[in-house]
Amino acid sequence: MTAPAYLPFPPGSQPPYAVLTYGSTTRRAPYEPLVALAPTIEHAGPVFSPDQLPAVADLSREAGRDALGERIIVAGRVTDEADRPVAGALIELWQANAAGRYHHDRDTHDAPLDPNFRGAGRVFTDQDGRYRFVTIKPGAYPWRNHTNAWRPNHIHFSLFGASWGARLVTQMYFPGDPLLALDPIYQAVPDPAARARLVAAFDLALTKPEWALGYRFDLVLRGLHATPFEGAR
């Protein structure tokens, strides 16, 4: 009987640190190879509760006033690689407003701020790993990575799972976005099938008629497995 361990990532399913087309990696990606660790405390992790960190599941209103833009519902399920639900996972969210501007001091994009949109939320998964929030579809915005560079519409996700090594920070994209093919951050994931999993699915069943469209975005966190093959039966 071996101690529970993380499974290795499938080749190409995660981006490398050094991404030639993403300029900010040039002086920030480590040169040395990573040192393999037999985790100890990393197999445990923080536990959060809505008592300490109240949920903020509706980003589309501020003090009772509706933000401008296309209201959307985003929902999905958080599991581990063996499809076991991750219950009680803390999900933090942040995004640009409908005009492509962040409520952030350092965002200098020439696009309007919306006093009714702060663009930050926090939700927890239920016993089945499900989450749901309401927001405004974020706009695309330019960045200075290369000439005429634009980020595709995206929502930032930060997740805490059952252990420290399950921690994930990622971005959710929207189907059919022509900027995905041009985006060095999205394209940093080598395997096209892997990066496609960052694109939410339009889901008519999630929409609320006469009120909001719906997108489904499922996430998979690293889990601890009794042996590297246990989950593959």
């Binding site: 993380y6 990532f9 499938p10 399913s13 995660q14 981006p15 490398p16 991404v19 993403y22 300029g23 900010s24 040039t26 002086r27 920030r28 990606a29 480590p30 040169y31 040395e32 990573l34 040192v35 393999a36 660790l37 100890t40 405390i41 990393e42 445990a44 923080p46 300490q52 599991t79 690689e81 063996a82 499809d83 933090e92 942040w94 640009a96 962040y102 409520h103 952030h104 350092r106 702060r118 663009g119 930050a120 930032h156 930060s158 420290w164 090594g165 921690r167 994930l168 920070v169 990622t170 971005q171 951050i185 940093a188 999993r197 960052l198 998979v220 690293r222 989950g231 593959a232 039966r233």
Partner: protein, 163 residues
């Protein structure tokens, strides 16, 4: 891998505009009234040119003392313009005198995992490293508590871990 297995969602950068998550109180793990020996940890995050990384998110996790309503065991600190971060926490068990650290930033498409030690325990990780690299994981005491600088790349590059 069988069809039933689901690959882990790819990581993406935290970007430069993540600070809605950066409540300053989260860097003080004793804020809810935790009691016990305190530990102050401060340092700077520097890039491959030695320039400060002023938009990083530094997170720590410790398994000891055990988490409780008074002690979350987890903290988060946004780096300042000079790359500086500072945590106040409880000292971990002397038998395992280290904290787990994760660093997120613009230009990091996935987290950097590492540890900071308060003694050279000679545990499996430290023992396997050449002395110069081992030193990058060791905080040193100073007047304010403990000092630990992180170099993301190049000369004196910090040891980063594969979990």
């Amino acid at each position: 891998m069988s069809a039933k297995m689901r690959p882990v969602t790819p990581s993406q950068t935290i970007g430069p505009f993540w600070h809605a998550l950066a409540e300053p109180a989260l860097a003080d793990l004793t804020r809810a009234g935790a009691t016990g020996p305190r530990l102050a940890l401060a340092g700077r995050i520097l890039d491959g040119d030695g320039a400060p990384v002023g938009d990083a998110c530094v997170e720590l996790w410790q398994a000891t003392p055990a988490a409780s309503p008074a002690f979350p065991g987890w903290g988060r600190c946004a780096t300042a313009a000079d790359g500086g971060f500072a945590f106040t926490t409880l000292a971990p068990d002397p038998a395992a005198p280290y904290l787990a650290i994760a660093i997120f930033a613009r230009g990091l498409v996935k987290p950097l995992w590492t540890r900071v030690y308060f003694a050279d325990t000679g545990d499996a990780l430290l023992a396997a490293l050449p002395a110069a690299r081992r030193a990058t994981l060791l905080a040193r005491p100073d007047a304010a508590g403990w000092r630990w600088d992180v170099r993301l790349q190049g000369e004196d590059e910090t040891v980063f871990l594969k979990l």
